[in-house]
Symmetry: D3
């Protein structure tokens, strides 16, 4: 009865997952497999990058359904190609942005998302609006660090995140902090530690692990997205993309 | 590492859980215990009932935290006393209304909630507004059956739910159906079967089982509600209620 | 033709009314009577307190209807049990929070509510959303003084209120100030005096007296709340509460 | 201590007030005087009419303040010149549209406004949005009768209002009915009678009498509109209008 | 095929147009004529002024339609009488406030409007709400200079505008600047120059020229406003205004 | 001074433009050139198609900027890749969906969009929300005709559009009709003719021609989108796409 979750990293470099992260998740009772894409950008930091990442991400999700995985989770807070992917498959496809924004909305009055670059503020505000949780968004803040520099400057990253989280609480009246990039995996505990030390006992959400678990929960009860919202794409000639064939019932 | 979830039935009659439901949930990897309240109404069908159910529900949640359960889930779509309970404890407390409304918002463009009595429409619309997902709510519909009659008329209940679900899809343009009473436990599959037969391949959410699993997911990653939104109540004399003492750090 | 207004103080200590306040109101042409509750908290400062205050508040409102008073006003900005009370009776029941928020919305572009404790900010923001006036709310500010300390530190209270009112005008662009606790009765004039002295000729609303007069106005023209929104609760067994019997027609 | 309320009928024909209406209001403890305008349209049924009615309405309000009345109420659901009037004077100026929309929002979950002409729907929806109560508006309905025909067809008017009120309840899920023209004075009781007979025990608001009483309540506690929202107009040359001089402090 | 646009300056002093402005617009392929009003205020700086400006503005628009111009543009960010004018005529009538707010909404995530006087903030926020673009409005800022002083202090005006524009970008997170008075004609280039020099490459909208061009575009494709929203006013006696007769089909 | 507008048809089949359409637009004073994409779908009817159309559409827009055209207009109501394109270039890029939704919002109280397939309803509702005009959207309706069948069934298409437009006016209270697919080019006149015949004198917007003219108006006054909202993408390795190099200053 173990659910098999496929994690898709929608960039052409390696995601931020380490084997210990996967083991921790598998310990919770699901099986995890990981795929990266073959065509697309090295990292996703703007709408342009997301546009180039989406086609192969969706191709990998179609392939995952054929391999009979139970659910797919994207390893990127941009949720690239989420709506197209849901049109293309019937298994649950979860984006960490949509999932963790809803979770953040549940855990407190308003949440702030702390991400890598200030240029993503309009992007995340639009996402919150589309996902229906805009009224729960206190602010979008950033640490001004490019995605591919996050790992090499882990110490500085954690420090900057904490600084922005405190400003979010004190200046924007955030009640919950949501880390706004899956490349920040593993930083939540440290940010929360400092916040609690300052008297702010609030959740700091690391979006990817909890999205994987919620994907397992959804697959576990047999739910998936609505095919009225996401009907299968009509068949038609397409030039220049070799998308796997869609299953049509 | 198994998480222990306490299910609180906030009425003075038995909840709708059968042993097979609990076994199915425990098979997903958590431990479940169930408590009913000692003081309160026989069922919850209006604001007045909810008001009377809340104090002992919260008392039972405080007791659950002392017994070191990992998370609490209320067995009622009214989420009675949810905010007061979160003030009183630090472990995650999930209401099926809040949790399943957010889930419904994630699975499709708009959802309809089908509940027992039409008089609850303002109640659920207010809940959706407070939970921040009002824009995703297509409609609230009802089958006009009192809670305590649901079981004795299981056949009629399922039939009426399906009828309202079809009206929600065709008339209100719902993309997702959310069953609006935990007493409807077990009806989702049948409603969905008929919808799929009519060409509407959409999720029908049975709120309680998925809320239990999401509670386990949240507890599993060490998250809980924000104590900035839900700070511990100040100590003060109270007459006429024997609430357990709150833990104060 | 004088209307009889019952003032319900929903705490087990005395409300902030002095005989001169009552006399001033009676001079406006209505009769006032006052009741406190027997079971509940000593003051209301959080959702937990409000939950414990509601059942006996509603019981006292049911009793007031039986005694043929013309309308009821709650003496607490939490409006505890307002919706349950309206289900239970047919005479107008007014909460000062709902009433004065609508009044504040009428008197200027946006209003700020200045209350006793910062922890009540999410509470009042949720109230404004539920009452339908959220877009008119500029901010919720607080003086960080527990309710039961207000009287002993009247000087400090007035000073702190004025300070927050100025910040609301200059920082949050409030056009109207609403005092956010009925325990602040009598402070409005002084706050307004200082504001006018600084060139801010704006209303400062003391919520309770104006709510009493609006209750008399509503009762005077024969209006009350909608029984479609607030239908009488269904009869059912209840354990542990001795609510007066509801009138059922 | 009696408050003197000036009723301004912003049209060049007589308002719908009869002496018995005024006597009923005066019995509630205030003094009423009535003025019509000298320049403007015979009735107000569109934005064009309202534009022509506003300048002399405001002139009459400035004159009323000079005559030391305590508050002004407009006798028209268009609230013509309301904002300009509030800039021009310091005494409370109440429009029945703003006041009764807020009252309707307080008495139930959502209200419908039933007015004279369908062409006014965008007008009233815009008013509700500007007044901050749009979310509480269920619908705008009309009886398609020109204002100046209302009196001559009183029977037909009441019948048509009742018909639309029933459609509002059954079709638009209104919980409260608001009569959308002050020329409908006196019809509320009859409409409500029929609604109650059909099992819909809901308020039907006759906007003018309750606005007069609320004006008296506001003046009685010494409140008025915010001069930050409505500052006195700057002095400047104006051609073609003989507005009374404004009081400038 | 050249379109003839009539520019109506709704004040009794001269507008801010110079012949070089008109020539520049005519070079774009339309014919421009200009009219001022005969009755009304010397400038528009509040709701009171706007009320006095509207009747003759609309009279001039009715006259323009009779003279067979193709479209009318108001030379005032107050859009005085816009809705009444659209009721009265069938040719397109564009207000620079409505038109440039929609344009600003299209060019970036959120815009700030920088106007002459702080007292106009509620006015413009209400306009944005009525025009349906409130969510795109970052802030309303002002330079605190009366309209009739703008020209004599052109240097100071440009400096103050730039200062407020920078505060809008850095403090309110505006992505687009909209000049909030047509008397600021010609200042946009200079404000943008300084912004670009500081690294903010954003549009600064001078509302009038672009509104004229969009009016020509709309007239060019044969569109106009909806007569369902703006039906012709009913005929009726009116005292004190000599409005031109409306064309009635 | 003629502005050169590049029309990009984001599909791999020919757009719906005929030479007479281009000539009509050029007669208005601009120069038009047209490009189709080389990689992508044959038509755009869902999120999946749009995803595949975007990368080459953006590549063609980058190329257009290099060829020094003055502005770009997409020939598709999906506005595919609009945000990515604006990041990539500095000349104005207009999508007909965003532009004509704002225009529709200006011309009447609420508009309905009539498109080809019902499955696009969530898509267009999300677009309206993101563009900030959701409150002006009355409904999305469809004629259930695939894009590539539109031309072969021109008669049936016009008939079905008219039918849906009437339902939008009578059932959804639309004041303006917006044709929701650029493949419907040329149908507006006929739909409007029938509507006027039924007494509904309302605008029917053919989105593409007016978007081209508004693009010329915007380019004509030297405006473009905000580079704070749409900053140039960071340089990074990308696999599988040969996007033209971006201009970086």
């Amino acid at each position: 009865m173990k659910k098999h979750i496929r994690l898709i990293t929608p960039i052409t470099t390696k995601g931020s997952w380490r084997s210990e992260h996967l083991e921790a998740l598998e310990a919770s009772g699901c099986e995890i497999s990981v795929t990266e894409i073959d065509a697309g950008p090295a990292s996703i930091e703007c709408e342009f990058d997301e546009m180039l990442a989406a086609p192969d991400t969706v191709a990998k999700i179609i392939a995952a359904e054929r391999e009979r995985v139970d659910a797919v989770v994207m390893d990127c807070m941009g949720d690239p190609g989420l709506r197209a992917a849901r049109e293309a498959v019937e298994i649950p496809v979860l984006g960490p942005c949509e999932t963790s924004m809803h979770l953040a909305a549940m855990l407190g009055h308003r949440f702030s998302l702390v991400t890598v670059l200030q240029r993503l503020r309009p992007f995340f505000e639009n996402r919150a609006r589309q996902y229906g949780v805009y009224e729960k968004l206190a602010s979008v803040r950033s640490i001004e660090t490019p995605v591919l520099d996050l790992e090499s400057s882990a110490e500085a990253t954690a420090h900057a995140l904490t600084e922005q989280a405190i400003l979010a609480v004190e200046g924007d009246r955030a009640d919950v902090i949501l880390l706004g990039c899956t490349g920040l995996l593993g930083c939540a505990e440290r940010v929360r530690g400092t916040l609690v030390g300052k008297g702010y006992d609030i959740p700091v959400i690391d979006p990817l692990p909890v999205t994987v678990r919620i994907a397992a929960a959804i697959a576990g009860v047999g739910l998936s997205h609505s095919k009225l919202t996401y009907p299968t794409p009509p068949e038609k000639p397409t030039i220049g993309f070799s998308q796997p064939e869609l299953s049509r019932r």
